[in-house]
């Protein structure tokens, strides 16, 4: 046990030491890709009607008149000092913009994962228990649909059904227009609980419902498929056979034997799900006008706001790398079969 802990510790150290290299590669790639991409932030800021003099002045003001090499060196220097620079379009510190938008994305992400688990796990289990029967086919169809449905279309359908036809949920935004919540953490649900404000809590939940249901449904296929496969594998294992022969009932076998073992590979998949969440969230945030990081990223790309795009990509990468690292450590810690 002690030796395994030491191995896990060494493995963690190696993984952590690789993070700066990962980040350097990502930040360099995004820097180069943005400069190669056509378009100019000056046009996005001044519009096409500005004269050459105004353009040049703006270029100097934003430091874009310097050579790419100098821009790159300055960018890396700033990164080492944890300075993501200022947004080119509104001159606000990138870190501030990210700080304001990140809680909305995390809130949406967390609830979407919860929805995905709530939909995916029962579907996977029902499918397995009714193998090759009606419910299995239904569960498979739902699972495959969640992969196949384009997020923007899914989002629009949800809006059409729940907002336009049934009129039960708000079509977009993060909080009721008429209400005001003095947010301290940026997480509206948490804030409303901390402030004991039921109206704000209801408002935040209502606004979160549609985007998180949509994104959660789109991610649920990953969970239903993986649970089905891993649970099936677990049920075929010796320890489940042994438990069955000892007369342990089905419910106990599921809870105490099959499910915990099936969960370990799902941890790994959760890492992938979070990465795909970042991609899926973009379209969901845009469609539902959810003021999160993905929406900021889309706007920053359209405006060719180099600093903001770089900042968002780096922060998102850090989050994804950290979560994956955490999952790796957890798996290493909980699964004695895994050796490092």
């Amino acid at each position: 046990m002690k030796s395994n802990l030491k191995n896990v510790f060494n493995y963690t150290l190696i993984k952590i030491s690789l993070i700066p290299l990962n980040l350097w590669i990502i930040s360099s790639l995004i820097f180069i890709l943005l400069r190669i991409a056509p378009g100019d932030p000056i046009d996005a800021i001044l519009g096409s009607g500005a004269d050459q003099e105004a353009r040049e002045l703006m270029r100097i003001k934003l430091g874009l008149n310097q050579s790419i090499e100098i821009q790159y060196i300055n960018y890396l220097k700033n990164l080492l000092n944890l300075n993501l620079g200022n947004s080119l379009s509104n001159q606000e510190p990138v870190i501030e913009i990210i700080r304001n938008a990140l809680p909305a994305t995390i809130e949406l992400g967390l609830f979407s994962i919860l929805v995905a688990i709530f939909i995916g796990f029962p579907l996977g289990y029902i499918g397995l228990k009714n193998k090759n029967k009606k419910y299995d086919y239904i569960s498979r169809i739902i699972g495959i649909s969640s992969y196949a449905i384009p997020p923007f279309w899914g989002a629009m359908m949800m809006q059409l059904i729940f907002s336009v036809i049934l009129r039960v949920l708000p079509i977009g935004g993060r909080f009721p227009i008429a209400e005001n919540l003095d947010s301290t953490t940026g997480f509206f649900i948490l804030d409303s609980i901390l402030k004991n404000d039921l109206n704000a809590f209801q408002g935040a939940i209502y606004h979160l419902a549609l985007p998180s249901l949509t994104l959660g449904f789109l991610l649920s296929g990953i969970f239903s498929r993986s649970l089905r496969l891993n649970l099936e594998k677990a049920y075929k294992s010796d320890y489940v056979d042994a438990a069955t022969s000892r007369g342990i009932n089905e419910k106990n076998i599921l809870i105490n034997y099959a499910f915990p073992n099936a969960l370990i590979p799902i941890f790994t998949i959760t890492g992938f799900a979070i990465a795909s969440l970042a991609g899926g969230a973009l379209l969901i945030e845009v469609t539902f006008s959810w003021p999160g990081l993905a929406l900021k990223l889309q706007e920053a790309i359209l405006q060719r706001d180099y600093n903001l795009v770089q900042g968002i990509v780096i922060v998102t990468s850090i989050i994804i790398i950290s979560i994956n690292l955490l999952i790796d450590i957890m798996i290493a810690f909980f699964d004695p079969r895994i050796k490092y």
Binding site: D40, D51, S163, P170, A178, Y206
Partner: protein, 529 residues
Amino acid sequence: MHKKRYLRKIVLLIFTLVAILSQYACKKKINTSQNITIASSGKIESLDPARASTLKSYQLLNALGDTLYGLSNEGELIPKLAKSKPIFSKDKLKIFIKLRENILFHDGTPFDSSSMKFTIERFQNIGTLNYILNKKIKSIETPSKELLIINLNNPSSSIEGLLTSINLTAISPTFYKDHFDKFLNNNFIGTGEYKLKRFSNEIQTLSPNTIYWNKKPKNNGINFIGYNSFSTLYGAFISKQVDVLLSNSIDDTLRYKLNLLNKKNYIRESQSEPIEISFISLRTNKIPLNNIDIRLAIAKSLDRELIRNKVSFSLRSSASSLIPLILKKDNSVSWPDFDPKESKRIFREQGYCDGNILNLPLTYRSNVPTDKLIAFYWQQSVKAQMKDCFSISINGVESTTIYKNLSEGIYPSVILDWTGAYSDPEAYLSPLLSCDKFIENHCLKGEAVFSGSFWASEKVEKLFKESESLEGVERLNKLLEIENLASKSLPYIPIWTSSQKAWSQNYISKPTFNGAGIINMSELLKNEK
């Protein structure tokens, strides 16, 4: 079997209960505001007049602040913070503006000439669009609290139009003292009919300014909300989650649907005077478009009526001018009309047709849905009527990329649009036609390069200069002469003009606009639903 049926019934019952409960609960939550909720596309990055550059920020700043002058629906200058119309010195290098007295900013400090001087100088210092002003204004004097004197570098009659610019909305020097050289994005202290109550990029709340010097707003306040997608915007309006829908960029199919609802009296629709011009820019410095006859033949192949009917469902007006009608009083200058026979005759005369087909690469902004349809219908119309002489190949490129590449002369022809930075014919002509450096008719440096036409004319430059020292009808005639020259040389082909549109629910009064296409928020009135 019984168990299954029983289970189904329970599930159905739960679903129904959840639906009823959520409907009951949510009806309470969705749009319960006493304010009027206006939805528009996109978000507001900044409420700083020095940074404002989008129609949406102009709309808000117009409600929160006042400029020296406004523009009537007839295009006339209306004094707002100024007491009377500007008076020019004999040499036209000084403008005397008398200011209203007893006006207070939202922070309680008084408005006077020094605050106007602060506003203008701050815009000159940090304004994103300060290039529209910097070459014109030399200095500003404030001999008394009620008198502002603007010294000009050269005679400039367009300065009148510039004084209506939302970018010059008066701001409180006391409040902005630490922001003379930097933007203040999330707050605003001006003199307007509304005060800013709450600001986020997505939602802004305005409450009536009880100490406003002019007519007070008719409503209890405004919620201004931004949605990112047209479908969300449309859905929010149709489901009555918002009271007013305001957008000139909403998809034409949705505009048409809303127009039909208006005709059935389900909603109310209104529009501003057309202020946005869509046009095709032709690269005149390279063959074959350096040939004026080819440009004429191309211009005559454009079926504006077809495009208007098919793309905008006849909801936009065809344009045969680069200046919106409101700014030129009459329609004396006109671009060539659609005439496919004449177009073919010219192409034939220039050695095309009968096996030698001129192919025009036409670029459109892929992120502007109407541009794609314009390009498509023009392409198909040409294919149907003159395929033996002329063809069009269309190519979509994202707008930011197009703007970057325009000055590099990459696109032989490109569909663009333009709204003047201020309400003056010059604000439409100069950004398209003026040129600082040119050889014969080829512009090497200047606005015509950035508009992708590369067309220049010595006479046009001369007329621009002459117009600066003129006023009124004489000046307008000079500018129309410039437009006339452009209509003969055809560096651009106007397509249509667009209006700012607004739709309101039946329980809201019909929206109205001022001459600059800005909605009059204070006129909106909410009746009982």
